[in-house]
Amino acid sequence: MMRELERINRDGIIADAAAIILSGGKSSRMGQPKALLIFDGEPLILHIVRKLQSLFTDVVVVAAPGEQFVELSSLLCSQPDQPNELSELKKPNKPKVKLVRDEVAHQGPVGGIYYGLRAAGREVAFVTSCDVPFLNLALIFYLTSQISNHDVVVPHWQGRFQPLHAVYRRTVAPLLKEQLERGELRPIYLYGKVRTCEIPEEEIRRFDPEGLSFLNMNSPEDYEAALTRWEEKRLQGLGPDSQLSAFSSKPSREGSVSCTVELFGVARLLAKTTEVSLSLAHGATLSDVYSALAERLPILVGRVITPDAGNLSSGYACNVNGIDFVRNSNVKVNPGDRIFIISADAGG
């Protein structure tokens, strides 16, 4: 069990989170269903599903009822769909894909997010659309990791929210339902009502300097441009597999390691923050994490972090990814690690 969990966490599969792909749009300007555009030799929806499966246990596709649903069903599911029921595909050695229909067609993204959250049954879900070929897993992982104290994590790119590249907690579903009933069909109406974490552009650029994650395709021209872009990146050796490197134990191409430190107890009260994102040199150890943290939050030095900033004080302990308690500060940090700094005494 331990090994399995380590694999799940170290390989970047996010526990208790799902991905939702909205595929309920009309594709009117494109002239054909965007989900079925051929991309990298396969329908775009399959391309996106495969990519998200490397990060999430469950992937849900929300489609409009009618012809499009039948087409997606035949593509994603081995069994014919039963009306108003979820279809599940369990391919050998693959996580399952759920296909669910918008109960009322074309209500826009609010409806899609609502039905998707309801079907996903997970605590949180990353939501995207079916027309974004350049998903960046490092960014998605980062966005999902920011949800712990929030209900929504949404990127803010070039002056606009990106609600279809955002993370939602399941508990917002009732509010989305109310929005649907009131006809408020824009997701941003939700953001003022719940704990929303806005990810600024500078933070996004750490993972996706060009913001390709938000490049969607609405017309045949967009499609052509995306295909050209894809080919350029493939020739540069920066295809989708390169994005996965941030979640393997191999060094990232840029030679840096991003990790997040979560603070608890006295450390949190002193720092007045729950977590800190760090970017460290390749090969960084926990000792480097403590040093970087000391630099960012000097108030922790002497109390939580030793005066030489190389270790934790005797009253504190380190846990990596919620699984391993690590006492040796020479242990290397893996990309995407979440490092908890907690009291060493669990007495209560």
Partner: protein, 607 residues
């Protein structure tokens, strides 16, 4: 005699008489004080097979050699009896000025047997013992009783331990309370209530002598300084409520009757949030430098004590997300004298029954997970044993046996004692500790969770190596609980056994050693088990609730983690082996002789 007074006071409520009896040095040296001495006296004073509510069941208050010596955190006392919740040993600790006063009376133990003809309280002023009319106090809260008794005795310095209405009504998880602290677990307050005994009031003027005052003072100063260092930072600056947020993140926070180990509203209830939003005052027991107690503001009260166990049990365990509700529920438990862990555990069981349509009476309250009004409305009925409260006052095991069907599957207890806030599936050493503890599911008599949090083992995997680790944890706790030293001081020692032996030697004048204390820890724990065996313990009593073994954890970083019956059985076997007990968990005569138990207990039975 140094460190001890060498005598006990026996009060017989049947006759109203009392007697002072000598305590042999051999017994004090073999069992120290606190839980150890209490266990030894319970074994001798309790008739085999005695019913917990029988007048013959002794209610034993014990002091300890370090009490009153000036060593930080040692103002504690133990209450030991046969538990009405488990039918086995109940040993519960409380602290502060009542503990100091007990020692100042000039005794090492107070043993109360019998039953008063009507509501009464015992008043001990040095050598003078009175059984006074307690009818005016009946129905009052413990704190109100304390004030009324002080006023009646015209002695503001008198120290009082009292029960609330829950104890009077023999709620099987009622507490004994002094100065807002509780001897909480196992229903010691119900035994006191069964004796028609509302309170014990003390006023003593007897000093405490130690063999080497300067030596004791030097060690006390070193430990005092350490107690203000980083290892107690959590306790000094947030209190035990700090556990909640991190336990949630680690998937060890029992939620909705152990159906989950993470709670989606944990942040709102976290110690960090409470500190920022509700903090009122920091408080400490007498003679304590750590001062871990936190008092929080609620809408209805300025100051309400809250510990992690109360927060978890009345919060996530019952699906309650509002700090205000938890604070109010905690206040009700204080007011009625209820153990918050068993209250929360039993209510969570009832909530699950109600949600599954198996407890029709619960519908009158709208009892469901997360229903604040229902939670607050039902606690008084438990204390008063009225309506559904009468069933719940029996604790989750008996209530499940009464309702029947599958409800026992989610009665989360061991030996009848409800589980504390440490999820056993994601803390495998703790799982073993909970299963085999003589007191039932307990986080204090076995600190096995500490092994899981140390990085020394893989907390998510079970292996036979845990047997010896749990043994070490239990023996360590037995020594701490008998000297008595608060567990929150335990990390302030660099070599606990060696330093504690030195301290014990300087207090008593008896040359001691690390090895002797190790052996004493083993002896005390073994005698607890021996008592349980005498009272009908069977191998199946060392086990965990069905849910723990049948269901995997559904959320958080521990999603999919479970514990199988085979894994648990293997760990229990390893534990028995490490204890050198037989494969069914019974203690061989050879082991008893090796620990000097059979000889000692036989001799002392003549008391």
């Amino acid at each position: 005699m140094y460190g001890f007074h060498g005598r006990l006071l026996h009060v017989d409520l049947n006759t109203g008489g009392n007697s002072w009896l000598d305590l042999e040095q051999s017994r004090l040296r073999a069992f120290l004080g606190g839980v150890g001495l209490g266990t030894s006296l319970l074994y001798d004073f309790a008739p085999p097979g005695v019913e917990p509510f029988s007048p013959a069941n002794p209610l034993i208050f014990t002091s300890a050699p370090l009490v009153g010596t000036g060593l930080t955190t040692t103002a504690k006392y133990a209450v030991v009896t046969k538990s009405p919740l488990t039918g086995f040993i109940a040993d519960s600790l409380s602290s502060s000025f009542f503990a100091l006063e007990l020692k100042r009376i000039g005794l090492d133990a107070l043993v109360i047997t019998g039953q008063a003809a009507s509501a009464a309280y015992v008043c001990i002023s040095d050598e003078k013992v009175e059984i006074r009319d307690g009818s005016r106090l009946w129905g009052k809260s413990p704190s109100e009783s304390e004030s009324m008794i002080r006023s009646e005795l015209k002695d503001p310095a008198a120290r009082v331990a009292a029960i609330g209405p829950a104890g009077e009504n023999r709620v099987r998880f009622a507490t004994i309370s002094n100065e807002g602290r509780h001897a909480g677990r196992g229903g010691v307050g119900a035994v006191m209530g069964s004796k028609n005994l509302k309170a014990v009031a003390l006023r003593g003027r007897c000093g405490v002598s130690v063999a080497d005052p300067q030596g004791v003072e030097e060690i006390a100063e070193i430990v005092r300084r350490r107690s203000l260092g980083p290892v107690t930072d959590k306790y000094r600056n947030i209190g035990t409520v700090a556990n909640l947020a991190v336990f949630n993140r680690l998937g060890t926070l029992p939620t909705r009757n152990f159906q989950q180990s993470t709670f989606e509203h944990a942040e709102a209830l976290s110690g960090e949030s409470l500190t920022e939003n509700n903090f009122s005052r920091r408080h400490g027991c007498a003679s304590c430098t750590i001062r871990c107690e936190r008092l929080f503001k609620s809408l209805s009260r300025d100051q309400q004590r809250l510990e992690y166990e109360t927060l978890f049990a009345l919060g996530p365990l019952c699906g309650i997300e509002e700090p205000e509700v938890v604070l109010q529920a905690a206040h009700l438990c204080d007011l009625y004298g209820l153990d918050t862990i068993s209250t929360g555990g039993t209510l969570a069981w009832a909530m699950e029954c109600a949600e599954k349509g198996l407890l029709a009476e619960a519908n009158d309250f709208g009892l469901r997970f997360g229903k604040a009004e229902a939670l607050l409305a039902i606690i008084p009925t438990i204390a008063g044993r009225s309506g559904l409260g009468a069933l719940l006052a029996e604790g989750s095991r008996r209530a499940a046996a009464e309702i029947g069907g599958e409800t026992m599957h989610w009665a989360m207890h061991v030996k009848g004692l409800e589980l504390p806030g440490y999820e056993p599936r994601s803390l495998k050493t703790m799982a073993l500790g909970l299963a085999v503890s003589p007191r039932g599911a307990c986080h204090n008599r076995s600190g096995a969770y500490e092994v899981d949090f140390s990085g020394q083992v893989d907390r998510l995997s079970a292996d036979p190596g845990r047997g010896a680790l749990v043994v070490a944890s239990e023996n360590f706790a037995a020594v701490l609980d008998s000297l008595i030293i608060c567990k929150f001081l335990r990390k302030c020692f660099t070599d606990f056994y060696a330093e504690a032996a030195e301290l014990f030697s300087k207090v008593t004048g008896w040359p001691s050693s690390s090895m002797e204390l190790h052996r004493i820890g083993e002896r005390i724990h073994t005698l607890k088990k021996l008592f349980n065996v005498r009272e009908g313990w069977q191998p199946e009593d060392d086990w965990l609730p069905a849910r723990v073994l049948d269901e995997t954890l559904p959320t958080g970083v521990v999603q999919g983690v479970g514990l199988t019956a085979g894994e648990l059985r293997e760990m229990i076997q390893a534990y028995y082996q490490a204890r050198e007990w037989d494969e069914n968990g019974f203690i061989p005569e050879k082991k008893l002789k090796e620990l000097g138990i059979s000889t000692m207990q036989n001799e002392n039975c003549k008391m």
